[in-house]
Every structure is written in structure tokens, then in C-alpha cells.
Subunit: 334 residues, 2 copies
């Protein structure tokens, strides 16, 4: 049992301390975390962004990532979508008794790799262990604090008629990659989750234009749900064009087989930006120059009237209403 997580690892006692030191502090090591006080302390000044997400994805390891990478990228991206530079993250585990220590180690190493890429630091954490049957392996919560540079004002409520709607790349990769692993089917080509930190992309976009009105990453509920959120928050209408919508062939094929609509499938490394029309091309080019934005497109635009509605011009020239996700298309996708 020495290679498994025990209830005592969550007791706050000796085993818990050893685990924290060996598994977390030694791997994620930095002077703030190493202090092991009840709270991390740092100095900051300005407009701060603060966000939280719990991650319950199944399976824990999937093509293109694992729950550790996802937990960092998801929270880093939520900070980036408010225009913030991610600085400090918390890392909290709920672990089912009996979970292999080796898997935990892999996950912590993924956390380390993703935070390094994002330029963020894990400064505080927590570990709880629950009895067998009271969780499904391991759940992670990350919260994050970031700094919003002076002059940046990005919010879901800022879209205005005339703005262009940009999308940073093909949709549905994460949802289909996780689903394929869960259901045990495979593709002739390799499909991986797009899970990635987008803070560098956002920094380059903000450097290219001071007229970026909204940023959002289309995770749970997919692109359709995100566009609906923006349309509702900004009280505008969004029109997108189907022929501009990037979707990989493997994703399309899997969606057809499973009866999914890629518009509703989760992404973990894509963003939607609403940008003032005169700056749209410049921002598009900035996105395309980044590591995760080579397939970015201008997908549509913001118009007046029909407040809160999203419509898509189809290949055939018809107009289809794109509603928010209803039901549970893909449970535990993040």
C-alpha cells in the first residue's frame, strides 16, 4: 500500500506533511510555497483578476494532456480572458483513497510544466483524501490571481454592433479527444486535446490593439454557449458564418458518428475575441503568429437587434439560430 494514497495522507499529520514536502514542494518548489504558512503572501498593486475552477475530467489521462495540465490551463485561461497576466495559482486535491502515488506524481509534473509555460507559480495548496468510493480517482481545484495591465478593459458585456468575432482555431478537439479515450474508440490520425495556456496569445493580441472588447474561452458548452453568453451579456446579436468555422475532419467524423454538434463540444485551448472592426485584421495576424493560433479566423460579426441571439449563416445560405447548450452533452469533460 506504500505506493497508494492513504486516508492518513489527508489527515494533516505526519504522512500529510511528508506527502506535501515530497510530492508538491519539491516538485513545484518556490520560496512562497516553501514557507508552508496558512496563506501565501505576495505584493501586488492594481486591478487584479481572481478566478476558480474545479476539474473532474474523466479519464484523468487523455490524449494531449491530463487533469493536472487541464487544471492549470483552464484557470490560466480564465485569467487571460479578463485581460490579466496570470501570476499566482492555488492547487487543491481531493484524492480517493488508494489512488496510485505514481499517477499523482505524473499529474504534479504536468502541473509544473504547464505553470512554467504560463509563467505562473503555484503558491498555496491543500490535499484532502476521501474513502474509497467517495470520489473517482482524483479531483483538482485551481484558483488564480492575475494582474490586468493599465488600460485593458475586457468583459463579456463590452461587445458593440460592428465588432468582428474572431476564433483562434478549430473547435471540438478537447471534447472529442477525451470522449474517444473514455469510450475506447480510436482515429486513423492522431487527435489530441487542444489544452494549452493562452496567456501569451492574449498578451500579443492586447499589444496589437487597444480595442479588444471581449475575450472568452469556449470550454464547457462549446463555442455556441460562449457566443450566447457574450450576446446576452452585451445585449447584442452575433452572426457567424459556417463556411469560416474551422473543424478538423476527425472531429467532424466523430461528431457525426455520435450525434454531436461540434458547436457544443468543449475546447481547452481556444479563444473567442470580439474586436473593433478596424483592428480585426491586425488582431487576427497577431493571433496567427502565436504557437496556438495558427488557424485563427474571423468568424462573424456583432449586429444590432434581436438582443442576446446568435445565428449562423449555413453553407447553403440559410440562417440557423444557434442556442445555448441544453442538457448534458458530455459530462465531466473538464
Amino acid at each position: 500500500m506504500a505506493d497508494r494514497i492513504l486516508l492518513a495522507h489527508g489527515s494533516g499529520g505526519k504522512l500529510a506533511h511528508d506527502l506535501v514536502q515530497k510530492m508538491f514542494v519539491d516538485v513545484l518548489g518556490n520560496p512562497i510555497l516553501a514557507k508552508l504558512d496558512d496563506a501565501a503572501v505576495f505584493t501586488a498593486s492594481g486591478r487584479l483578476a481572481f478566478t476558480t475552477d474545479s476539474y473532474v475530467v474523466t479519464p484523468i489521462f487523455f490524449p494531449g494532456g491530463d487533469i493536472g495540465k487541464l487544471a492549470v490551463c483552464g484557470t490560466v485561461n480564465d485569467l487571460a480572458m479578463s485581460g490579466a497576466r496570470p501570476l499566482y495559482l492555488s492547487l487543491s486535491f481531493i484524492i480517493e483513497e488508494g489512488f496510485p502515488q505514481k499517477d499523482l506524481e505524473k499529474i504534479v509534473n504536468s502541473v509544473k510544466e504547464a505553470t512554467d509555460e504560463a509563467g505562473a507559480t503555484i503558491v498555496t495548496g491543500d490535499t484532502k483524501v476521501v474513502d474509497q468510493g467517495s470520489a473517482d480517482g482524483l479531483y483538482i481545484n485551481t484558483s488564480g490571481v492575475g494582474l490586468i495591465p493599465e488600460g485593458v478593459d475586457v468583459s463579456g458585456g463590452n461587445a458593440r454592433p460592428g465588432d468582428k468575432v474572431l476564433l483562434s482555431g478549430p473547435i471540438g478537439d478537447h471534447g472529442i479527444a477525451v470522449m474517444s479515450k473514455r469510450e475506447g474508440f480510436s482515429f486513423s490520425t492522431k487527435l489530441e486535446s487542444d489544452c494549452a495556456p493562452l496567456n501569451d496569445m492574449v498578451a500579443d493580441m492586447l499589444a496589437a490593439s487597444s480595442n479588444i472588447h471581449c475575450l472568452r474561452d469556449p470550454t464547457r458548452g462549446g463555442l455556441a454557449t460562449t457566443l450566447n453568453e457574450l450576446a446576452k451579456q452585451s445585449e447584442i446579436k452575433i452572426i457567424i458564418e459556417e463556411e469560416r468555422l474551422p473543424v478538423r475532419d476527425e472531429v467532424l467524423a466523430a461528431c457525426e458518428m455520435l450525434g454531436f454538434d461540434p458547436l457544443y463540444v468543449a475546447n481547452e485551448g481556444k479563444l473567442v475575441a470580439v474586436v473593433a472592426a478596424p483592428d480585426a485584421e491586425r488582431v487576427l495576424n497577431a493571433i496567427r503568429k502565436t504557437r496556438y493560433g495558427k488557424e485563427a479566423v474571423i468568424l462573424g460579426e456583432v449586429v444590432e437587434g434581436d438582443s442576446g441571439r446568435v445565428v449562423m449563416k449555413t453553407h447553403l445560405g440559410a440562417t440557423r439560430i444557434v442556442d445555448m447548450l441544453v442538457g448534458d452533452l458530455l459530462p465531466r469533460i473538464c
Copy 2:
């Protein structure tokens, strides 16, 4: 099923949005949360404290509180123990499919009540739903951001020989109250969890003395583990006196029956303070004037030598080594 949480409530789609609005925004309502952007935005300047904890207590409702109250108090107290004034909290749920909406509502109301008392605000949140059997009812993560006033320097590493060790009241109430409910035994008198926000107590202590060196709340692992942490971090020895140790009769009785040592039983509304000797009485009086500190005591002192060790002078005049908790005395106590 309309009164139960469904998988779709965690999908990010329509049901999720309705739940967030009705259950969270309407109850916890404040302008920052109501924006519903990916991250909350606020302005801050100075030394900030940042902390996280996941809560997996069973049962979810226990004498003196519930998981919602606990999740707020625990994180507020972690901030307070770094000397910070709690400002902003995040609230993240992992809910098992089928959980009664009524219970969730009760829990959110407890969250509201506790944050109001602590003067903190829930500014961001997340809800995940997992399939039946993949969680035990409901788990909560709260993270928090607080501001450390100028001149305050509290850390587990700051204890010095000659300092006095203060304890804000009787130990073991939380652990025994939760355990009694879990195991279904009752007391002739009413024993409740001490679960409470301690930030007002800490503010009054800091106003009374600028020589408070360490603050820590003895939660998981109990008083013994907390004192050991302080002794190790500060590389000093701590001596406490058994005859000064406040323990309620019901707690003692339950501990004897169950074979527990109250020194290792969790508290959720108590703090340990290490204070420069000349200020100890003044700080003690400040604690005793607060709502949750009427039974505070000076429990012992910090001495040189035997770095990292905690000892207790017993009623009989003997000296007993008080080690850190080993094993899993009370799993899922917080």
C-alpha cells in the same frame, strides 16, 4: 427529479446558467459576482494573502454548522492567520448527481451568512456535477484573497525563545461534534462545532500588540500538530502546561470513550498565537473580549534547545513529548 441536481446542471449550458443565477448570484449577490465574467476583477494594493482549501466533511450538516459555513470560516481563518483582512472568496462546488437542491440552497445560505459575518465577498465560482457514486454528496473548495495591513509580519517561522503561547479557547469541539453526528451518538448536554470566522479576533489582537509573531488555527491534526508545525518552522521548542489546557467535559468524555487524545482533534474556530512575553497579557485580554475568545488562556512558552520539539508538563508534574499526528484519527473532518 426537478428538485435534484442533474448532470446537466454542470454542463455549462442552460440549466447550469439558471442554477448559477438562481442559486448563487441571487443569494450571494454582489456587483462583482453578478458580472459573470471568467474572472472577478477588483483593485488592490499592498501585501496580499492567498489561500485555498477543499472541504469534504461528512456529514455535510453537523451540530453547529454545515459544509458551507465551514468552507467560508476555514478559508477566512487561513487568511486571518497570516494577519490578513479577508476580502474576496471564490466558491467552487463538486456535486454528486441527485443531490437535493434544497440542501444546496441551505448550504449556499450558510455561505452567505458566514461571509457576511466575516465581511468578505464571494466574487467568483464554479459548479461541477459528477455522476452518482463519483462523490459523496457535495464537496466545496473556497480560495481567498486578503490584505495584510502595513507593519504586520506574522509567520509560522517567527516564534522566538521567551515568547508566550496563547490558545483562544477549549479544544476538540469541532472534531467531536462531527464525529458524534457521524457515529450517531449523543451527549446529555449540547456539544456543537466551534466553526467560526476569527478575523475580528485577529484584528483586535493586532490592534493590541505589534509583537504577535505567529498565528495558526489548529484544524486537521489538532493543537498538537499545529504546535509541532510552529516549533519546526521556527526551529524552537514549545512547552505547554496540561493544567491550563481548556477541554470541555463532553469532549473529554467522548475522547476517553473513543480512545482519542483531544490534542489531536480538529478545531474550526480556535487559534494559537505566539506573542512576545511583555505583550502576552494584553493580547490575552484582547482575545477574551471577542465573541469567540472568552475562554482564552496562556498555554505555555517558547524556549531554546531541542529545536522542533513540543512537550507538555502534565498534571502530575511529568513531561511528555507531544508529537505530530500519525495516522488517520478522524478522516473527512473538514
